[in-house]
Amino acid sequence: MSVLKARALRKRYGELEVVSGLDLDVAAGECFGLLGPNGAGKTTTLRLCLGLTYPDAGEIELLGEPVPRRAREARRRIGVVPQFDNLDPDFTVEENLLVFGRYFSMPKPEVRAKVPGLLEFAGLTGREDARISTLSGGMKRRLTLARALINDPQLIFMDEPTTGLDPQARRLIWERLRRLTQEGKTLVLTTHFMEEAERLCHRLAIMDRGRLIAAGSPRELIAQHIEPHVVEMHSTGIETWAPRAKSLAPRVERAGDTVFVYAAEVAPVLADLQDRSDLIYLHRPASLEDVFLKLTGRDLRD
């Protein structure tokens, strides 16, 4: 069953078309990842789906409701974790949850009954009375996630849920997100961490310049778009070796001071490197990041 469906979505800001003819389908219970470089249109796509901004063309159906016309009704069963925390600094941890619940017209006792469970989920039990400014980045993120769960949503939108967190805090968020999918919730997240997408998402869509350029499971995307082996090297000898690599492997790419060799049959490449003790290299299986860079290019996006 589809919980989110978008067809031929378009949104223009001035001269720039940020979303240009986008189709999306998210099935109930899956964790769906929207990947793309900065400025690809990920955040705008989420805002369009939530009915917070209006499309210039196209149709959106969110939990069976037409958006933006009945977006408000759909949002009753939606949770949102924004890219930048906007917890209410005028309230404590617990009050943030209590006040947010009232925005959903939930009766006070019902919200109150939910708070201990949500604090436990956020790992903030015992910090009920803490001010928001005293929380670490990871704690704020977890509280924002807990806040998004106050109305027991079917579908949760997350815009870069772990950007700016340290590895420990990131792993804790990942663990919580997996718990949510196990509970049967649908997640839609944007990210530009390939590791995050690979670990969490059942299905991915890669976006660039307002369009979808690829979609599928992480494994499918790797299998479809990239050779299974990668030899990566960055050392002084690459100048002379790189041309030679081209005769050994179907695809050789250079980015800055690094050479990437992609091959289905990696043995000849490795054999050739045996006699080159001056070259330091890394042989690894192809990852989603290789797919991402192949499809969106290696140029810096700002």
Partner: protein
């Protein structure tokens, strides 16, 4: 009635800091009232048939209400909208920008009403408002609060930064306070200035409040109420229009 959740949020924050909030809202108008009222009042036998301090108390009730409504809707509103992104988070819930704007305006009007009501209470304690008619200044204060809160919220949703508000404060609010009969009877102004004052909401608030404080029934009640209501209604509609533009862009 979805705006109630927004109003309630602001109320809960206010309740945490109630003492500081009430004191800071009242200190300025009361210092002005007693300083100018007694000081200047000693030189003036009576103005418009009442002691100067009672005359000025009625004006202060209106100007304090105006200032509280304007500050709350502009500065505090902008802090919530722009600085803290509180409005953004509210919009994830089943509320719309219209609900947020309505809640903010009614909240600022409520807080302004409290300023007016407290000035009235102080005036009554000092025997400056003895007639039972003064109770009717309470709904008038709310109306004045609504008119200025909705205009203030237009400024809020149009603002790009904090400096924007100083234009409205210096170029509109301060001169309006001077010509609307707060400090002296507006009727002694040159005719064109008086006509200009009559097009602004503060004048109509003062025209309703001052007779009530003196124990008289105001004249042209319908007209004054209508002007204040018109500012509130048009202001709210315009604020909602600009807020939609700002938020759904």
């Amino acid at each position: 009635m979805r705006w109630v959740a927004v109003w309630r949020r602001n109320f809960l924050v206010w309740r945490k800091l109630v003492i500081a909030s009430v004191l800071t809202n009242l200190a300025d108008p009361l210092i002005l009232l007693f300083g100018l009222g007694y000081g200047l009042g000693a030189l003036l036998p009576s103005v418009a048939g009442m002691s100067y301090i009672a005359f000025f108390a009625a004006g202060t009730l209106c100007s304090a209400t105006m200032f509280t409504a304007s500050f709350e809707s502009m500065f505090s509103g902008f802090a919530r909208m722009h600085g803290q992104k509180t409005w953004d988070s509210i919009l994830y819930a089943p509320l719309t920008i219209d609900d947020v704007v309505t809640g903010e305006i009614i909240w600022a009007a409520s807080k302004a009403w409290l300023s007016g009501a407290t000035i009235l209470a102080v005036a009554a304690v000092f025997g400056l408002a003895a007639s039972p008619l003064v109770v009717l200044t309470l709904p008038v204060a709310f109306l004045v609060g609504l008119a200025f809160a909705s205009v203030g919220l237009i400024m809020c949703v149009l603002a790009k930064n904090w400096d924007f508000f100083s234009f409205y404060m210096t170029l509109i609010m301060t001169p309006m306070t001077m010509i609307s009969g707060v400090f002296f009877p507006a009727e002694q102004l040159p005719k064109p200035v008086l006509v200009f004052a009559q097009a602004l909401p503060l004048y109509h608030g003062v025209e309703l409040v001052r007779p009530l404080v003196a124990g008289r029934v105001p004249t042209d009640i319908g007209l004054h109420v209508l002007v204040l209501l018109a500012y509130a209604a048009a202001g709210t509609a315009i604020a909602i229009m600009f807020a939609r533009r700002r938020f759904s862009a």
